[in-house]
């Protein structure tokens, strides 16, 4: 389990607590500036909260060595940069750094999962936005983390690749990994997450199954808009 206990970050998070379970896809949603990315960074051990703690299992995340933390938690930032024009294969292999190896089987599997076999030797500068986003996710998968924390992983993907990525993350969750995603699309959160955390102005407004949490009242309160859900469970669309 990954637990946030009374997290406080000045002007960003105000006493946020949540228990995240392996095997689940958890979506963190909220309007701009709600503290979503800050919460994700705290859960990844990349931001030290001024109050509260993050527990990975029974251990405090801040007490773990950077290597042990990196082996357990794979993190995909919101605007990932790639400073040097490396090949897709080299980029994905960076995901093995926490293990200090270049496990070819793990790298091949990650490339295959993200449908990058044909692009493995292509330099990153010659990838489209979607291909690059897939390569960066493959980098996270190559490390075989128990937790996958991704900040808006669907942002640069077309619909087909959004579907592929959501399927991949579902498979990871079925295999026992915990998946936590910051999302802007409420329909994706509603249809694909097992659980949703709604943040608003640094507070945790709601926490639970998407059907229960993402109701009109919560959307009105957090986003300030009138919206209604259309369609059936699992295939809902948001009209506003």
């Amino acid at each position: 389990m990954l637990q946030a206990q009374h997290l406080i970050l000045p002007a960003r998070l105000d006493d946020v607590s949540a228990v995240l379970r392996p095997g689940e896809i958890t979506a963190i949603v909220g309007p701009n500036g709600a503290g979503k990315s800050s919460l994700l960074a705290c859960l990844a051990g990349l931001l030290a909260p001024s109050g509260g703690t993050v527990l990975l299992g029974e251990a405090s995340l801040s007490g773990l060595s950077p290597q042990a933390r990196a082996q357990a938690i794979g993190y995909l930032p919101q605007s990932p940069e790639v400073a040097w024009d490396v090949s897709v294969e080299t980029l994905v292999a960076l995901g093995r750094l926490p293990w200090r190896d270049r496990d070819a089987a793990a790298i091949d599997a990650a490339l295959a999962t993200m449908e990058l076999d044909d692009l493995r030797l292509r330099p990153v500068s010659r990838l489209s936005g979607g291909e690059r986003a897939r390569a960066l996710m493959a980098r996270v998968l190559a490390g075989g983390p128990r937790w996958i924390l991704a900040d808006e992983p669907l942002a640069n993907l077309d619909l087909a690749h959004q579907q592929t990525l959501l399927q991949v993350l579902r498979e990871q969750a079925r295999a026992g990994a915990g998946v936590v995603m910051v999302m802007h699309g409420l329909a994706e959160a509603m249809n694909h997450a097992d659980r949703v955390l709604v943040l608003f102005e640094g507070h945790l407004l709601a926490d639970g199954p998407p059907e229960a949490v993402l109701d009109q009242k919560a959307i009105r309160r957090a986003w300030g808009i009138e919206a209604k859900w259309l369609g059936e469970a699992g295939g809902r669309a948001l009209a506003f």
Binding site: P66, A70, P77, E81, A83, V86, L97
Partner: protein, 319 residues
């Protein structure tokens, strides 16, 4: 061993003995013996060539690590302010008239480098932020530069002023085994320290936040960078004055022949840096000028057009 490393090593193995033959007095192994050839070789050219290889290797490795650390192909080891710090130390040895005493000039330069390293750690050591670190380095470089100018303007004698200015141009002429004894261990330890930064620099390819998620300890990396750059650049300035552009040009030229990971650039850059300084110093010796061209000037003359070409290419990419 990669093909690039093997190639550079082979070039160095060929260039090194050839460089010993070149100079004002050419030594042709197949012609009649030159008077004092053994003395010229063992006491003048050999220490000079060894020093060129060692300092070039240090500067090349430092440049590769620096570019990886700052994720910028235009970064140069001089940015951390350690070279100006070392130069200030050396200038003070001239200013106080102690430069003539054996060992004191390099010792002052090393103290200057050490002070710059300490100041750098003090200002930026706790944050682990590369941005703060660079700004601190620039501040130190600016301060050291201003103090050097002050020392030059307040030179006790015109002779001291001339010596300072000449020394600052950087050269390997008149260097002895004493300089090798000072520079070699420090540079080799510095390169070993820089090699340890490899995995962390690779992780930084993905930006600071993603790198930390891969297990990077920014503070540890910062300490390694201060130690590695300080030792290599400090030793270089202590032994030869300021030699610019090697750390900028070499990694940049070689990057396309590696897989792009900063860790894979350090060893080739060390070898190519050694080769560049060795060849450049050789050219300084053989050019038919009234007095020998200073190595620092020669490398700047080579480096400036290279830098300009780099900027023009960057401009084309931005348009």
């Amino acid at each position: 061993m990669s093909r690039l490393v093997a190639l550079l090593l082979a070039a160095l193995v060929i260039a090194f003995p050839l460089s010993l033959l070149a100079g004002r007095v050419w030594i042709d192994p197949f012609a009649a013996p030159v008077p004092n050839a053994t003395l010229i070789l063992t006491e003048l050219r050999l220490p000079r060539a060894v020093l060129a290889v060692i300092l070039g290797a240090g500067l090349g490795a430092a440049g590769a690590a620096m570019q990886g650390y700052l994720r910028n192909p235009l970064a140069d080891p001089g940015l951390f302010g350690i070279a100006p710090g070392a130069a200030l130390g050396a200038v003070l040895s001239f200013w106080t008239g102690l430069a003539g005493t054996p060992w004191l000039l390099p010792l002052f330069a090393l103290l200057g480098a050490g002070s710059a390293m300490a100041l750098l750690s003090l200002i930026a050591g706790r944050s682990g932020s590369a941005l703060l670190f660079t700004l601190a380095g620039m501040m130190i470089a600016s301060l050291a530069g201003a103090m050097m100018s002050l020392a030059i303007s307040l030179s006790p004698t015109p002779f001291a002023m001339s010596e300072i200015v000449t020394w600052l141009m950087g050269a390997l002429s008149d260097r002895s085994w004493n300089d090798v004894v000072i520079a070699a261990p420090l540079t080799l330890v510095g390169i070993a320290v820089l090699l340890r930064t490899g995995p962390a620099l690779d992780a930084l390819t993905l930006g600071e936040q993603a790198a930390r998620s891969l297990g990077l300890d920014p503070r540890r990396l910062q300490w390694l960078m201060i130690g590695g750059i300080g030792l290599t650049v400090g030793a270089s300035v202590a032994a030869a004055g300021i030699i610019g552009f090697v750390g900028l040009i070499v990694p940049h030229l070689l990057r396309r022949y590696t897989d792009g990971r900063p860790s894979q650039l350090i060893v080739p850059s060390a070898l190519a840096g050694a080769l560049l300084v060795l060849v450049a110093d050789c050219l300084c010796r053989v050019l038919p000028l009234q007095s020998e061209l200073r190595l620092g000037i020669a490398l700047s003359l080579l480096g400036a057009p290279f830098f300009l070409a780099l900027l023009l290419r960057l401009r084309r990419e931005l348009v």
